[in-house]
């Protein structure tokens, strides 16, 4: 088989997981980092489409959007923001632990991160349930009293699309962290090689940052406008 070359790559006892087509660990790490940052650029553009639509519609229907955003529970939103910021802290601690070789601390930090991520999703589920109960999910069941019904439906369309996509990224993040925990239990990571933890950390921080933008746009701006 094409990839079954004898003196090649990643075996567990090999401390540096050097794949056969790279010349050096430094080259491999450069490639991984550049690849991950490029991937995050694509993610920015992916979310960017939705942010663009949001911006244009907010511009077109300022009072409708402001009115609709008053149906958001800013307390739950703030709680979730705090939860995610702390999850980023524990993720950073997991990366740091790996980098300095304290490999035993990797798993606890990853588990804390996952717990906080799951908490975020649980709170989000509570909010979704509330919205749906109040007929705020767009479509045939949508019901919104007052003069701003149509822009409010636009607002909630974007709200569900944006936070839904963000939640999907959180779920994928949790799956990635699960893999990391399993691999860490097998003792795969060391100070010399912990690229997957580092790259997953970048992903996790990125997903947090998306929320840092979503939170004010959807919950806070315009609450005070009457």
């Amino acid at each position: 088989m094409a990839d079954a070359r004898p003196a090649s790559p990643a075996s567990a006892e090999h401390p540096v997981m050097l794949q056969h087509h790279f010349d050096s660990p430094a080259q491999q790490k450069d490639a991984s980092q550049l690849g991950m940052w490029l991937f995050l650029v694509t993610e920015i553009l992916f979310f960017g489409g939705l942010f663009t639509v949001y911006t244009i519609y907010r511009w077109s229907w300022p009072s409708g959007f402001a009115d609709a955003s008053r149906h958001m529970d800013w307390k739950l939103g703030t709680l979730n923001t705090a939860v995610l910021i702390f999850s980023s802290l524990s993720m950073a601690m997991a990366v740091h632990s790996a980098a300095v070789g304290r490999v035993r601390r990797i798993i606890p930090y990853l588990l804390i991160t996952m717990l906080l991520g799951a908490t975020f999703l649980a709170v989000k589920a509570v909010e979704y349930t509330e919205h749906i109960r109040h007929h705020l999910f767009p479509g045939p069941w949508f019901h919104y009293p007052g003069p701003h019904g149509r822009p409010a439906e636009l607002f909630f369309s974007l709200y569900f699309a944006m936070t839904g996509l963000h939640a999907l990224h959180m779920i994928i993040g949790l799956a990635i962290l699960t893999v990391l925990v399993v691999q860490a239990r097998r003792g795969r990571y060391s100070a010399a090689w912990h690229t997957p933890i580092e790259m997953s950390g970048l992903y996790w921080h990125f997903v947090d940052i998306v929320w840092i933008f979503l939170f004010p746009l959807l919950y806070l701006i315009g609450r005070h406008i009457h």
Partner: protein, 545 residues
């Protein structure tokens, strides 16, 4: 120059290469070798090319007569939609990058593989997964929105399988993103010692520019399709005018990707032409840096011109003016390339081998396609010919006359390296001629039809347009035959072709310095580069490697 006699040293058993390194389905479906993945892509896109061609054939048959007699208008809508979807997303966008780029970028930079071999294989599986969704939609009755999925037709009114098709395009987009990402990282981190940026072959530069578009543009179409899909599935109202949503906003987002996507199709072909023109005129490229930066310039400007698709869609007249001016600017780097190729040809020591025929065809046809693009960038003219066959002819001159000519030229140029076999040169020249004649006969009459006012996307037309339509259909038949020929003789050559030498064209490219077909790790000894590309001087011309 044709290949000189190659004396096989008559080895007892064939040398180990990437093709005989493993047999069986697993060795292909689980391969991480960029060369094998390129061949997986080759098989898949060839299938889609002929599927898209079949739709085109039915379209041309319907248009043979003025009356709508072969198919009903609904069926006709589905035919041109699926022709567009299949050809754009499943053939043209992956064609040169995923096959020739995948195969040759690592070899041209002296690397053993792309930076992320598993991601490379994953991209093919993602492509196939997307293809399955779209094929499902085709088999279950198709979709009728046009390949552009304009709202609110796509979100509210169409009865076709919009979601399945859109999901297929959405998924396939990620294979494009991964390919682009892989190329960028590979070109940055995997170059051989001594291979500086300005020693890179221009094929690599043009793929770098292409990859930038893939990475920066594709996510936007992905999220746009996501919005259309949630609007259709969950009744969210993002583009719904009844809620105050804006269907023209969809068009902006769609063309933000889909205009640069045109450059995803043409830039790799331009890369092929730079390689072929230098090799077969035995000259250094004229103005290397200009050609290299023209690729980047096209990629950058390509992101600033999407509004020229919406001159009559109700965007502001001032936006239209800006988009018109910016569209004219794209002509500058494109013209730089055409002039530099021409200057490279000047006083060159020519040989008219098949790849060169395609390259010369490309330069002529791309020039026609480009010039008519300037007509369309002119606001007043565009209002007159918008949504007519003039547009159809224009973009087919770019995509078929440009991108496919480049693709076929590249396939012929590198076929000896890919397969280790020579194709039959005489037949190949004949096929190139058939394709050139068939192409022009198909699409040149459409310029006239469009100018006379025949609209696109109708299955019936007034009788005075019939003569030109018959010419076009006749040309399409010739073109179709022309496309079958290379497939037939490439397949034939796999078994019966003469063994190819390492460097049949006497090219200076790094990919020709290794054996044909190459070993799995590409080079017996990792190469070190100590000179610029395209240094063709008398003493270095060696036909046999």
């Amino acid at each position: 120059m044709s290949a000189a006699e190659y004396i096989e040293p008559a080895p007892a058993e064939p040398r180990e290469n990437y093709l005989n390194a493993g047999y069986g389905v697993r060795s292909w479906l689980l391969t991480k070798d960029h060369k094998r993945i390129a061949l997986l892509y080759l098989a898949s896109i060839t299938f889609f090319f002929f599927l898209g061609g079949l739709f085109a054939l039915l379209i041309r048959l319907e248009l043979l007569t003025p009356a709508g007699d072969l198919v009903q208008s609904e069926t006709y809508n589905k035919l041109f939609t699926m022709h567009g979807v299949v050809m754009s997303f499943f053939f043209l966008i992956p064609s040169i990058p995923a096959v020739l780029g995948n195969f040759f970028i690592p070899m041209m930079i002296g690397a053993k593989d792309l930076a992320f071999p598993r991601l490379n294989l994953l991209s093919w599986y993602i492509y196939m997964a997307g293809a399955m969704f779209t094929l499902w939609a085709v088999v279950h009755g198709g979709v009728d929105t046009g390949w552009t999925f304009y709202t609110p037709l796509s979100t509210a009114y169409s009865n076709g399988h919009v979601v399945a098709t859109a999901v297929g395009v959405f998924i396939t987009g990620f294979s494009s993103i991964l390919t682009g990402l892989n190329f960028i990282v590979t070109i940055h981190t995997m170059r051989a010692p001594g291979l500086t940026w300005f020693r890179l072959p221009l094929f690599v530069w043009s793929h770098y520019a292409t990859s930038l578009i893939m990475v920066l543009g594709t996510p936007v179409i992905a999220v746009t399709i996501f919005m259309v899909a949630v609007e259709r599935i969950f009744h969210l109202g993002i583009f719904d005018p009844a809620l105050g949503g804006d269907p023209v906003l969809f068009q902006h987002l769609f063309w933000f990707y889909s205009h640069p996507a045109v450059y995803i199709m043409i830039l790799p072909a331009m890369g092929v032409i730079s390689e072929v023109v230098t090799t077969f005129s035995r000259k250094n490229i004229f103005g290397y840096k200009f050609v290299a930066f023209a690729s980047i310039g096209i990629a950058v400007l390509g992101f600033l011109v999407w509004g020229h698709h919406m001159f009559v869609s109700g965007q502001s007249i001032y936006a239209g003016l800006m988009f018109s001016i910016l569209s004219f600017l794209v002509a500058i780097p494109s013209a730089v390339k055409v002039f530099n190729w021409t200057a490279t040809l000047y006083k060159g020591s020519f040989s008219f081998d098949t790849p060169m025929l395609y390259a010369l065809g490309f330069i002529g046809l791309f020039t026609i396609g480009g010039f008519t693009g300037l007509f369309l960038a002119t606001l007043g003219v565009d209002v007159h010919v918008h949504d007519t066959y003039f547009i159809i002819a224009h973009f087919h001159y770019i995509m078929v006359g440009g991108a496919i000519m480049g693709y076929l030229g590249g396939m012929h140029y590198w076929w000896p390296k890919i397969s280790g076999k020579m194709y039959p040169e005489g037949l190949a020249k004949f096929a190139a001629l058939v394709i050139f004649v068939g192409f022009n006969l198909t699409f040149f009459p459409q310029f006239i039809l469009g100018y006379m006012g025949m609209p696109r996307r109708y299955h019936a037309y007034p009788p005075e347009f019939q003569v030109l339509n018959v010419m076009s259909t006749a040309g399409a038949s010739i073109l179709g035959l022309g496309y079958i020929l290379p497939m037939a003789y490439f397949a034939w050559s796999m078994r019966y072709g003469r063994n190819a030498p390492a460097n049949p064209w006497g090219s200076t490219g790094l990919e020709w310095q290794t054996t044909s077909p190459p070993p799995t790790e590409n080079f017996e000894v990792p190469p070190i580069v100590d000179k610029d590309p395209y240094i063709y001087s008398a003493e270095e011309v060696e036909t046999v490697g």
